[in-house]
Symmetry: none
Subunit: 229 residues, 2 copies
């Protein structure tokens, strides 16, 4: 299977490169275009599987680009990146069908989730995606359904709980920096969010206490390490 191709239109070059590298390290093929006026020609040339458009662009804004892309291809998913100040009402009008939007500042985690959702939507129509199952000790974790099934019962997890558990699981046996968790899940590492993380760690520990081979170890001043077995 060939790689998923993303057209990414962004005028802030530094930000763009970081996002591009990030997506590429997750095995997406990314073509970045920094000039709004060239977005549509580039689209025609590369024929991407999905588009990520900054709304605020010089020469031609993201919405206009989207309209023109829709003429060419009514199916392709488009994700808008909007600044916080731009009214969500205006944006909502564009988020019908295959469109979605993310408010800046966003975390990579967020972008990845949206991209994956959009692709799933594209492939399967309206069906929710194939739900992967993760086996964590004696538990079964369903990241998309946000459920954690133990021996006795299945617990529904909230979004934050599920995201945190997923992150810990993906980085099991490694030290994860507190800051990284905060930035990935909350978008910044302010003091309050930091205390918030503590709360969620407590929650997960309590959910996972049925299996004592599972442990979220604190590394004070640095972060956590999730050990399994």
């Amino acid at each position: 299977m060939s790689r998923i191709k993303i057209l990414y239109v962004e005028d802030e070059v530094f930000l763009g490169k970081i996002v591009k590298e990030s997506l590429e390290s997750r095995d997406y093929e990314v073509v970045m275009e920094s000039d709004g006026a060239l977005a549509v020609p580039t689209f025609k040339r590369i024929v991407p599987d999905i588009c990520v458009l900054d709304v605020m662009l010089p020469n031609k804004d993201g919405f206009t680009i989207a309209e023109e892309i829709r003429q060419l291809n009514p199916q392709v998913p488009i994700i808008f990146l909007t600044a916080k100040t731009q009214t969500s009402d205006l944006v909502k009008g564009f988020t019908t069908g295959a469109n979605d939007y993310i408010r800046k500042p966003f975390s990579m985690e967020e972008l990845i989730v949206r991209v994956e959702n959009a692709l799933r939507y594209k492939v399967e129509g309206k069906k929710p995606g194939v739900t992967e199952l993760l086996s964590i000790g004696s538990y079964t974790f369903h990241p998309n359904r946000q459920t954690l099934a133990g021996k006795l019962e299945e617990k529904k997890l909230s979004f934050r709980e599920a995201e945190l558990l997923k992150l810990l699981y993906e980085n099991r046996d490694k030290i994860i920096d507190r800051k990284d968790i905060l930035n990935l899940l909350w978008g910044n590492d302010s003091f309050f969010n930091s205390r918030n993380l503590d709360v969620y760690i407590t929650k997960l520990r309590s959910y996972l206490k049925e299996d004592d081979s599972l442990e979220i170890i604190t590394i004070k001043g640095i972060g956590y390490r999730f050990v399994i077995g």
Copy 2:
């Protein structure tokens, strides 16, 4: 096993020297390159295990260097050092996988954690880490879980305790220089950290006193020797 080789591209020479020394004190081999244009040639010459690239460089920026390095070697982990302003505060995350980001200013602790994680990822791919068990006299030591199990009970160790014990164990029967311990665990050998080490030695001795065949011997003015049996 030969030492891990790091290519470190940084134009701020003063900062660079500090970081270089710090990494070297932790037993990494560090090659520093201050000219962006020479980064790729240096890469070819030394063939490092991991790259740490400042993004803002004269002549050639870190991202461009990364792209060229990727042509040569798609696997090697790359860690970018970015100033806060360069990301416009918009992307807060990092990516698991071959790439990682650290915002300047960063702590050495942070860099070390990233480097070690990146290397582990490289070595083990996505496989869960093998959780090792070490047998120390009548004790069983679990470095990742930070537990030390004696005949009667299992004691939870703190991060520092576990790291120190691991270090002693890895160098058992050899004389370990105090300075080396301080540099490896604390990153420098200041007076205060030195007293700190004394405290942790006392703690470990007390934890290990169940088995008389284990002894942490002081070699005054030099360091310690951990003898087993």
